[in-house]
């Protein structure tokens, strides 16, 4: 029977890291987090226009692709045993993340899977949940099950885009206000101090840079951290023909997110012209130092999460067109990033 909590899907990278599937990763990227995706006989009730799991795309339990790759299905106990063994031999594996679909049973089944993982391994565990089916009580139960982080994929960074891509405009069940309240409830369940709540934001869904940064600030003001994704057109979805956001724009969003996350700047201190970020609110020297450190351009997420080649193909990466670096950028990478930001030629952003 194809249904969690008995079975679960694994990202391709996770399946490779666990030795359940053969394969290698470009530039020998390590997998820091084993990403699990719950599954259900009815499939996801969501119908998000950019998602391979959307109700009208997946048409039931069949998982075509998600975040560019296939997610093969395995028995949960087989996966947990593989995680236990892999974690002993590979110190780069730090965490397991369990992602829920939008299904009525998801809260109960997610807690069961989290407990199974916690009983078998010492790895940190995260839960990626949807407030459409996880209410405040559910979130407290998830926290009590022992997760270190709860993350909510708001994805679309304005209410209008959310409605059009995930809500009624997309024949989907999700509501902006419910998601924002879900972030607040998650912060309440996990506590504000530890930065244990994350929010996924996808750049390139039609928002302006100013709107994206304002959304980031909203999340930080609520006590959550933002994890950035660069839109990648998923085959067979309504947005499969949409282009990725311009790389220089994504780089600016990574920088803005990093500056807010580290307390070096804030949305109100940044300046925008026609929606484009033109001043980060820090000195040029400080900005250059931040860029050269490379950290803003690495994958953002819970500690250990690096999602190798989730937002770009390996061929794009080989051309220096990484979106999120799954490892610290090297000197050559930094040169690429500086050029993409226009820093190499103009000596300023």
């Amino acid at each position: 029977m194809i249904v969690s909590p008995d079975t679960v899907r694994l990202s391709t990278a996770a399946a490779i890291a666990l030795g359940l599937r053969s394969g290698r990763l470009y530039r020998d990227a390590k997998v820091g987090c084993i990403n699990l995706l719950m599954e259900d006989e009815e499939g996801c009730l969501g119908n998000c226009l950019y998602c391979g799991q959307a109700r009208e795309v997946a048409q039931g339990p069949e998982c075509r692709t998600l975040i560019r790759v296939q997610w093969p299905s395995y028995a949960v106990l087989e996966v947990v045993e593989a995680i236990r063994i892999a974690a002993e031999r590979d110190p780069s594996i730090e965490r397991v993340c369990v992602s829920a679909l939008t299904t009525p049973d998801a809260p109960e089944h997610l807690v069961e899977i989290v407990k199974t993982i916690r009983d078998a391994t010492a790895l940190k565990v995260s839960a990626l949940v949807t407030p459409t089916v996880f209410d405040a009580t559910h979130l407290r139960k998830v926290a009590a099950a022992g997760v270190e982080n709860i993350t909510i994929a708001v994805d679309a960074t304005t209410v209008e885009l959310f409605h059009a891509l995930r809500g009624r405009g997309a024949r989907g069940p999700h509501e902006w206000q419910r998601y924002i309240k879900g972030v607040e409830d998650a912060v309440s369940a996990m506590g504000r101090a530890k930065g244990s709540v994350g929010v996924h934001a996808i750049i390139g869904l039609g928002e302006s840079e100013q709107e994206a940064v304002q959304f980031m600030q909203l999340c930080y003001d609520m006590g959550a951290r933002v994890h950035l994704f660069s839109f990648y057109p998923e085959e067979n979805t309504a947005l499969e023909r949409r282009s990725q956001p311009p790389l220089e724009s994504y780089r600016r969003m990574q920088l803005a997110r990093h500056l807010i996350d580290t307390g070096k700047s804030w949305a109100g201190g940044m300046r925008f012209e026609s929606g484009i970020l033109v001043d980060f609110g820090v000195s040029e020297d400080e900005l250059r130092g931040v860029v050269r450190a490379g950290a803003p351009f690495m994958t953002t997420g819970c500690s250990g999460c690096n999602r190798p080649y989730a937002n770009e193909t390996p061929a794009q990466a080989m051309q220096g067109l990484f979106r999120n670096y799954p490892f610290p950028p090297n000197t050559q990478d930094i040169r690429c990033i500086e050029a993409q930001l226009g820093m190499a030629s103009r000596r300023q952003v």
Binding site: G23, R24, V69, T313
Partner: protein, 135 residues
């Protein structure tokens, strides 16, 4: 037997980066070995250079991509690329499912008479074993 090593045909020659070569006179057929296709994972995309190009040893004759990896294909012989396997454009999975048959990649007319530095099947078997030894 290690995964991906159960088929190393005795009749072929092998490069250190896991390209096999079948030679008849100066005509050389090249492809990826069973070990390499297993090691790389499911192939999504194969790009091969146009016929007519003259290649030096180690010169790139294409690239290959899986969902998480990409690499260049390098020729173990010098010569003129005469033909490429057009089926791989639409059926890249042939590299995985039939590496020594339908998954062949290019045909090269070698510039020399056959003095190459490629490995025999036995030597390649040892090379694969070394590749699988944890660093």
């Amino acid at each position: 037997m290690q995964p991906g090593t159960d088929e190393i045909p005795e009749s072929l020659r092998y490069s250190r980066d896991h390209v096999w070569l079948r030679r008849e006179g100066q005509t050389c057929v090249l492809g990826w070995t069973e070990y390499m296709q297993w090691s790389a994972g499911d192939v999504n995309y194969v790009e091969l250079v146009e016929p007519g190009v003259t290649l030096e040893v180690e010169q790139e004759f294409g690239s290959i991509e899986t969902s998480k990896w990409v690499g260049k294909l390098r020729s173990p012989v010098a010569g003129r690329l005469m033909e490429r396997n057009g089926r791989l454009m639409s059926q890249p999975e042939l590299v995985n499912t039939d590496p020594y048959g339908g998954g062949w990649m290019v045909i090269i007319t070698a510039a020399d008479a056959g003095s190459d530095a490629l490995m025999s099947a036995e030597e390649y078997r040892r090379h694969v074993a070394e590749c699988q030894t944890p660093q």
